[in-house]
Symmetry: C2
């Protein structure tokens, strides 16, 4: 492990691999353009549970089960799990994972949680603190709507800048020298607050954090956008992605040829009526752990940046007139 | 860094020190038996802010400021901060720390957050991923009451098994070879759920997690209670502490001579009318970062275990009939 003074980027030196992963999707996501890539699709978003929150927990439990099963190992072989989600007190994670007996360290990075959890897991693996670690997160449209916005039954009109919370989960199992996909570097974000207050335009609130972390990464590693096959953000959606291009142009980087966003990839924008695209912890988690990982494994992608973003507000902070701080954590992944 | 296969305990090998720390307290805590030890006491629990949530953020900001200032360094010298709290979406932390420019990794371990944040920070320091890292958490009686229980104005009668959420915060700065107090080992907890459902008896819900982690630590390190000056739990309170003794007796360990609990230490039980003692992320954070750290620095304590506990439920999970999963993370600290 090494890190230059003043740099935000940590270089992993012991070939930390993503040994296995799984992406789970709800019905709307399953009908979208990535439907063929998910490891499991639920046709009914209640998943046979009694509440949306329990349904979300099940998504997360399934993702971990499939990712671990794909390694040929069992839960006791996992030294630790890093998990979190959007629900108050991260109950999707704690209730999903309580029966597994795996040492647990709860993470909160809002929609950046998948990148954050993999980043910390990667440092634990690289250092030898753990031999094998898992990272998992989830979101569910219905549990998020009722917690952050309005009761679904109310049928409120959605703002055109708003994004659709993905019903989905993603899990990854990390281990040294285990396969062809490696995490080479990680960049930890710091909190950026541009005083944006519109809770219906998360892309605008989060784009400055992505711009900050991505430009810091380029600076720390002395690389440029053209060095990568893909620069993938978490869930900036259509509006946030355009803002990201503008902000990075100001810093001297044009990423428009290499960039894509999980919130743009997961739905067919117009027929699926998602306005500015997908969002939620489960957005980049399900897309990265299925679609992107399959392309890395096949060799179609060889050298990518994955920068997930999170909006660090709550309904209470917005009601108290606060702006929306945001963050972005980045992983440099090679195949 | 080393870890035996099958063990939950990670041995830190590079003299990771707690270079500096600060404990901040509210008025009730300041009038308690540890009043002389806190680094700062607020006489008015609104702290000059407009809301309880903003007041809690200020506690956390103050703790970090004092802990960093005590090192003679400034915020840009800190490579990363690990922080979390009890409020929905951890807003005490994100709003407290958004202006500092320090790379941020949000943690959620409920009342175990101080131990969890120091544990992860210690692994990052030991591995060389960071040179200097901070850990911080907080709680506030009024923000917790209105989020988890009843509006304060309602004046509801408190259950005799209930605990009083501490208004306080604690922060620590970790660095290699920096002072006399070192983190020697860390043990990561796994989630324990004994199907307890009484949200007014958190000590009972959390005691099994503490018993699990502490007994795992003894087993992993082949040590016994008498090897330590102090075995300190986070906020089991009076009832939870008694249950912990019973549970550890069954596993063959008698810790009653070495044990104390931050929730028992922070208040005068009867005159301060706190029923089963203190609780909240800020309970063990403020007690550990002031009182305990001062005793470690003076040499009065030389070899301690610090096992904080957290209840991983939410009001929503309890309303849906769920039990209370809990967790405990442990640090072995030497002076």
């Amino acid at each position: 492990m090494s890190k230059k003074t003043g740099s935000r980027t940590i270089r992993l030196e012991n070939n930390v691999c993503i040994r296995s992963s799984a992406g789970i999707a709800g019905s709307k996501e399953g009908k979208g353009p990535l439907g063929n890539y998910f490891d499991m699709i639920y046709e009914d978003d209640i998943l046979g549970e009694k509440t949306w929150e329990k349904a979300e927990s099940r998504l997360q439990a399934n993702a971990v089960e499939i990712a671990v099963r794909n390694t040929g190992l069992d839960f006791p072989d996992i030294d630790g799990i890093f998990a979190g989600d959007l629900l108050n007190q991260c109950i999707s994670s704690t209730f999903a994972l309580r029966g597994l007996g795996i040492p647990f360290l709860g993470q909160y990075g809002a929609c950046s949680t998948m990148a954050q959890a993999m980043l910390i897991a990667a440092v634990f693996i690289d250092s030898g603190a753990m031999e094998r670690a898992a990272a998992v997160t989830s979101s569910h449209f219905c549990s998020a709507e009722r917690q952050f916005r309005l009761p679904i039954e109310y049928g409120g009109q959605r703002n055109l800048t708003s994004q659709w919370t993905v019903t989905g989960a993603g899990a990854a199992v990390l281990e040294k020298n285990a396969g062809s996909v490696s995490i080479a570097d990680v960049t930890i974000g710091s909190i950026i607050d541009m005083k944006i207050k519109d809770a219906n335009n998360m892309g605008a609130a989060m784009a400055p954090a992505a711009a900050d972390t991505i430009s810091n990464y380029f600076n720390d590693t002395n690389t440029k956008p053209a060095d990568y096959d893909l620069i993938l953000t978490g869930d900036l959606g259509f509006i946030g992605s355009e803002l990201l291009y503008e902000l990075l142009q100001i810093k001297g980087y044009d990423i428009s040829c290499q960039h894509n966003d999980c919130g743009k990839l997961i739905y067919d924008r117009d027929p699926q009526d998602v306005h500015s695209g997908g969002s939620g912890c489960g957005c980049c988690a399900s897309v990265f752990c299925s679609y992107i990982m399959k392309k890395l494994r096949s060799g179609e992608l060889k050298n990518i940046l994955f920068a997930a973003t999170g909006a660090l507000m709550s309904p209470t902070s917005s009601q108290q007139g606060e702006s929306i701080p945001s963050i972005s954590h980045l992983l440099h992944i090679t195949a």
